[in-house]
Symmetry: D2
Subunit: 341 residues, 4 copies
């Protein structure tokens, strides 16, 4: 198999995760260049050197212009995703872009147009589609095991809330957290979201709105009408004290497919006080550990064997459109809002 | 303990169920009289005679006017519940009334007023509050184990749809089916429903509306804002092919309480094709078998020990008010509708 | 369907259980007579009268000689089972005999011979064969789902130990407790036990041997070689503090069938401290509640429709032979002992 | 933290697994040398070069004599484990030795003596002690949660049998397979095995004895009396068609700790045919994936922080003594055999 040579832009937590995976866990991939504006201040240069990545820069264009780079992995700060993606695509590179591509619909569409024109592979980092549990649910829907989907329920709760300062710039819960779940609804239903109704409250942190300066919520329920007639519901909480709670259920005309959390271990201790078993894995790095690898393997496969990507630019666009509708609905008491096309 | 002497009005399926339970499974209860308009045509007279119940009539007033009767159990057709209850209460009898008390709010309020005046015990047959699983969830909320409730999810699906002719007179899914779930939300949350948004489709039977002659749905999702700030979601389907699916989940500031279905048995067969385990018990007679007994035991206890009933007339009223709001919301595309007080 | 008229001998706890079941839960059965030596001292006469059973006596021969009695249910003290069974069989009555028929092999064989001669139905009360969970495991073996059985594991633990005085006369753990499990091994394997090795200790009550006066143990593991080549293991404890632990696993050439305990309820409470779920139902009256009914329904069916009984006299004999071998093995350090035929 | 420089002897499947883990997953470890007699024929030289391991040899003494090597990892063929370990220990190297150290008790004792004299760390590769599930069971025993252990049950079944040629030289099921389970019994019980009784059959492959040329079995049950009075049972099968079945249960005076298999995923599909869920992970590379890493992390920690190893040479010796006793017992019809000290 040909080797895909990666240049990585952004060497923070997610960038390092991807680099380690590319080196150790993704056959046919190699990291030959990296860029990060904080290369020296953050210690990234040294970290990269330990992995024999010495072609490094503070300027991402050095990665993009590197003729030996086949694919650019965009792991920079969220507000730069679309800019860097666009530049890389225009330079003829395949791009793996962390989600979200952008919160601005026009900027995503600009990337989509450039991808079409350049004929490169462009994959968005919706890692949960590659989770062994969710994928098994989606597969059961796809292969017809449960018939036509009627009701979809996504429960998605973080173990601890981000700082209010993060929320202030993230666009709020529908953009920074539920965006994954909007993608999940599309993924497991195989259909598009037509209308959404969102309600929410500040139950985890009653002062969230003052602290973040935006009319956000930390507990939210969104109901969706899908194009295929099914109804989907997502519930989000910023804080499940027992850990990362990630479950999907699809109920249909022939049955139900559902999954549970991966637990810390399978042991149970049963005493006079009852049976105590384990909590879910703590957060996304633990739970989606292998999903992070799988998605990149899949991207490499798309490049090497010239297959369509599993999660394309349009999959980056749709959840943003849904998030916009949900945000509007929530700020208007839950009225149904049509999702833009 | 004093014995409570019951007169039963209505000897159809539910009436017979209650009579058998009163005789065999409820200590301190006795059935001394019964009435049913179809006493002879239906074979009820003979069925009752086999159980030594010979004081029988086609006129329910004979039961109500019987001075030896302490408590009347109203198991007649739905449209007569409030009339018979009212008469029995006015005659100074304790009343156990199958749900719904009525679909007409004024008629329920008339019963409530009469109960207050007569000072008798009046219990509504929301049997699910006495289910061992749901009760354990409610208890975990009440005892503070999971902190303040934030999100409540009730999944409630029947194994097979009723005939369209039933739907035509039942008032539709929010009145004849989800009414139990509205009660469940109030029960496990310990709070009141303030506003509801309902969406639904005819996914089980696309011809339901023509066949039933009412604008009903067979798949529905209702979102509720509760007085305590929590958000509740109910999903209903008229047909879960794998059996009666009855699950409740309450997520709160300190954790989550949830239950699962009772299964046909606990056996698992694991082969190269995977691990096959059992389906839920088929329908309410199997699943809520012991709950039917427990609720009547509790009613008898209220009478004998002069305790407040666990499920009173107001608990019969509130779900009807929520059902009215849900029906209105569903017919208006899911707009939020305030629940009347 | 013809009605089977029962006479019950022995009105202690198990006798009453059967009488209630015959009256309320077994269609086609009727209790018309009863006998108990302690009829008046124990309050049994009054208890029976409340159930309209007034043909009562302190002499079991009155039941056996009653020409209206079709079937005798033997619920007397263990040491009288075979005597009363023999008399009833000789009088031409069908007999349902609580286990064990006897601990004396010759006495059981005498009953077997009499049954053959009289041509009546004789069923032994091995209720666990009628448990919904164990039956599903046995059915999976019978229908070939798991192929040829290779390894059988029966875990059977009581919630609390009987008094040492009971053990003193019961014959010890292999006779009064594991006898059910020997039957279970035969039931789920469809094969016979050829040789046994038993080890045990007094871990629950270190003073058991002094207190009971017999060389018994309260924790025991028995390994068995079966005629079909499979190996079976039973483990018993007199005290599982978390409740009655009753599980069966059959591993075979094509897979594994296993069951779990029925739990108090299905609720789980998940907090920072883990997920707490329920314990097993406390003891046999709860766990085998429906099995007690099923076995008698089956017995009635055998009589009414002249079918072979599901658990015959030979099924009463075999476990006693295995218990004898296990007792001998345990007292000799675990040496393998052949089971007599 | 100081870096531990490893030299690896034996670059077959397990050697490569350890090398990859040392490079990628064990902080504070480095691989600086390797040896394998088939260095060139097997392609190992090239494989090592890709990982920048160029100090390689066909002679393991080159690794042992390398002054830069702190620790030797012995992954060579089983019959060379003790020889290479002994040489490495005598050269003052810390040693991580794959199990078994040897099947010859004297050779293991020679290693133990050398380790004592040299004062180096010596760890045996009983990886299952580091499995997240089994460790949680062992921890529950250690911390007193379940009181004194009374009954221990280890179920351990491989997905497919090894070739008869492997069995011919492995010493048979008690040496090559159950040896892990003997260690598990010691690990979770915290006690020593005093006597064993073993029975077995050739149920997976009826021709196993002819094919392997040794009186081996492929289905075995071993019962053990432990020094603390508890009774342990292990069951092994060479072929569980549904995958690697690895479960441990410890029942004690205050409760029970048990674990289940890690499954392929947590999804369940429920239809009219029942609920289908997943099989266990296929084999040890999948199931004990993280355990392989954890044990080496622990070894590195022992070296760097001069702590006692968790699994020492004596832990390599004891299971071999038990395997010898089990083999003898099995060949003598299950008679109890004392384990040598």
């Amino acid at each position: 198999m040909a080797t895909v040579r990666f240049g990585v832009v952004g060497c923070g937590r997610i960038g390092k995760l991807h680099i380690n995976n590319l080196i150790n866990n993704v056959p046919g991939a190699e990291v030959i260049a990296a860029a990060d504006p904080m290369l020296d201040k953050s210690g990234a240069r040294e970290w990269l050197a330990e992995r024999n990545i010495t072609n490094v820069s503070t300027d991402y264009m050095d990665v993009i212009n590197n003729p030996d780079v086949d694919a650019v992995m965009v792991c920079s700060s969220t507000d730069t995703h679309s800019i860097i993606s666009l530049a890389a695509v225009k330079a003829g590179k395949h791009v793996f872009c962390e989600k979200p591509v952008d919160y601005d619909v026009d900027k995503i569409k600009a990337v989509m147009a450039a991808v079409d024109e350049a004929g490169v592979k462009f994959q968005v980092g919706f890692n949960r589609r590659f989770d062994h549990n969710h994928k098994a649910v989606a597969d059961a829907v796809k292969d017809g095991s449960i018939g036509d989907p009627h009701i979809i329920i996504v429960s998605s709760r973080d173990p601890e809330p981000p700082p209010a300062s993060y929320v202030a710039v993230s666009g709020g819960i529908f953009y920074d957290m539920m965006i994954h779940d909007f993608d999940m609804v599309r993924y497991v239903s195989g259909s598009e979201v037509v209308e959404v109704s969102a309600v929410g409250s500040c139950l985890v942190n009653p002062n969230l709105q003052e602290e973040s300066g935006i009319p956000d919520v930390d507990t939210a329920v969104v109901t969706m009408k899908l194009a295929n007639g099914a109804i989907a519901v997502i519930n989000n909480s910023r804080q499940a004290v027992y850990g990362y709670d990630q479950r999907v259920e699809v109920f249909g005309s022939k049955g139900m497919a559902s999954d549970g959390n991966d637990l810390v271990n399978t042991a149970t201790v049963m005493t006079v006080d009852g049976a105590v078993s384990q909590k879910p894995l703590w957060f996304f790095l633990e739970r989606y550990n292998t999903a992070f690898v799988e998605q990149v393997k899949c991207f490499v496969d798309s490049i090497v064997n010239d297959k369509p990507v599993v999660v394309g630019a349009v999959d980056g666009l749709k959840p943003v459109l849904i998030a916009a509708a949900a945000t509007e609905s929530c700020r208007n008491g839950g009225v149904y809002v049509k999702v833009a096309e």
